[in-house]
Amino acid sequence: MKTSPSAQTSIEIPPTAGFPLVSQGEGAKIAARDVNVFYGDKQALRNIALDIKPNEVTAFIGPSGCGKSTFLRCLNRMNDIIDGCRVTGSINLDEEDIYHRRIDVVQLRARIGMVFQKPNPFPKSIYENVAYGPRIHGLARNKTDLDEIVQTSLERAGLLGEVKDRMDQPGTGLSGGQQQRLCIARAIAVNPEVILMDEPCSALDPIATAKIEELIDELRQNYTIVIVTHSMQQAARVSQRTAFFHLGNLVECNDTEQIFTNPQHKLTQGYITGRFG
């Protein structure tokens, strides 16, 4: 494996060679190797090799259509439900292949939760939105247990104070930022290990965005977080590692500070400084 320090500083990293950018996969929460994704005949991702470290926020950035959301969806097999989508290579969660046929996808998605771009609470009460997951996964033995899970999840999502007096009101009646935090509460209620976020703030105002970002920083203590964002500033603010995707390739993945002060690859530099031709 070519991981000498000189290989790191060279800007001649071929766009398809992800390997110099990752460690050997030791200590990684998620380790992806040789991941290729096809939508029908069209290849959306090429030979992605990437480690996601535990208790860190990893940001995926890149222009529209670069494959960052596709890759995010590979991490909890959300692509399974897309017709004509084929994934090759391996993605391991704690050294276990998540594409193995013995894997129960529903269980997998409880371990790897997801928050989407548009807040999508169920058309149910605030309480039911959070209680739904733990109930179907059998995480609560009785009503008291369930109440506690709902409380803790809302608390962790920084929403409890704002909703504790109206738990029976519909979740859809909350503001956009509150709805998104409700979705985060819903995701963490099933006690996941990883939370995937696909542009979680793009529909929110700056204050709601700041609250979510603060939340992401707190959640990192207990969860591993992967976030796709179009906002470079957001990636810079919330993440410890940043991966830059371009035309289906993983171009560069490094410490966030390094990516935003001294990116090694010309394409990364061009993208983050707004010089894309």
């Binding site: 935003f260 002060t261 001294n262 990116p263 530099q269 400084t273 707004g274 010089r275």
Partner: protein, 241 residues
């Protein structure tokens, strides 16, 4: 005029602002160079009018530093620059501070020239223009290196500062000898000593600029230590002197 990526920013006004920032630095550098040259000329030619103009001229460099300061703060706030853009802006801020100091030292040289010109000329005045020429070259080269984003050229400047240190030390020794020979030399020689020190400091600021250019282009700070000439701090006259 500035060596940047052929692939310019999508937002053209940002590109223009970055060029504008570089241009202010270049003009500021040109002015600092001219101030230094004029200050040294005012000693060599014993031209008090020129010296007075140089003393007054420093205010313009100070103004330009303020200009760079507000401009960089504005760019940071409004453009949220990243990567090489961020380094270019932070670098410009640092370089403007160095140039401002260079201007101050040049003004101080000119002030002392005004005093010197009222005294009898002292012999080692000849060593001053020699040192002055060397430092002017260094300042000139480092500004070229900045415009061209040329790390090699910047590093050449960085290494050359050793020559300045050497010249300064020998001038220092010479002046001490003159003072010992004749106490009437003490006042002008002391001023010349400070002048030499000021010029030597200008050389140091030029090497700081060279280090900033390295950071600006390479994205990392220089880790090696600069070669140092013998410096005057260790000098002590012996009985035989």
């Amino acid at each position: 005029m500035v060596a940047r990526d052929a692939n310019g920013h999508t937002v053209r006004s940002f590109e223009e602002e970055l060029n504008q920032l570089t241009n202010i630095i270049v003009r500021m550098g040109g002015l600092a160079e001219a101030q230094l040259a004029g200050a040294i000329q005012s000693i060599v030619r014993r031209d008090s009018d020129l010296a007075a103009r140089m003393v007054a001229g420093d205010a313009r460099i100070d103004e330009m530093e303020q200009e760079v300061h507000s401009f960089t703060v504005r760019l940071l706030a409004l453009r949220q620059p990243l990567a090489d853009d961020l380094r270019a802006i932070v670098g410009a801020l640092k370089i403007s501070a160095e140039l401002e100091r260079i201007g101050d030292y040049a003004a101080n040289v000119a002030k002392r020239a005004l005093v010197l010109n009222q005294n009898q000329p002292v012999k080692p005045v000849a060593g001053i223009p020699q040192m002055g020429r060397l430092v002017q070259e260094i300042v000139n080269d480092v500004l070229d290196a900045y415009v061209e984003r040329d790390v090699e050229k910047a590093m050449a400047v960085w290494r050359r500062d050793e020559e300045v240190d050497e010249l300064h030390t020998s001038l220092f020794r010479e002046l001490v000898t003159y003072m010992m020979e004749d106490p009437r030399n003490i006042t002008p020689s002391t001023h010349l000593m400070f002048i030499a020190k000021n010029i030597e400091r200008i050389g140091d600021h030029a090497t700081n600029i060279a280090e900033t250019i390295h950071f600006l282009v390479e994205g990392k700070s220089l880790t090696q230590r600069r070669p140092k000439g013998r410096d005057a701090t260790q000098y002590r006259p012996t009985q035989e002197d």
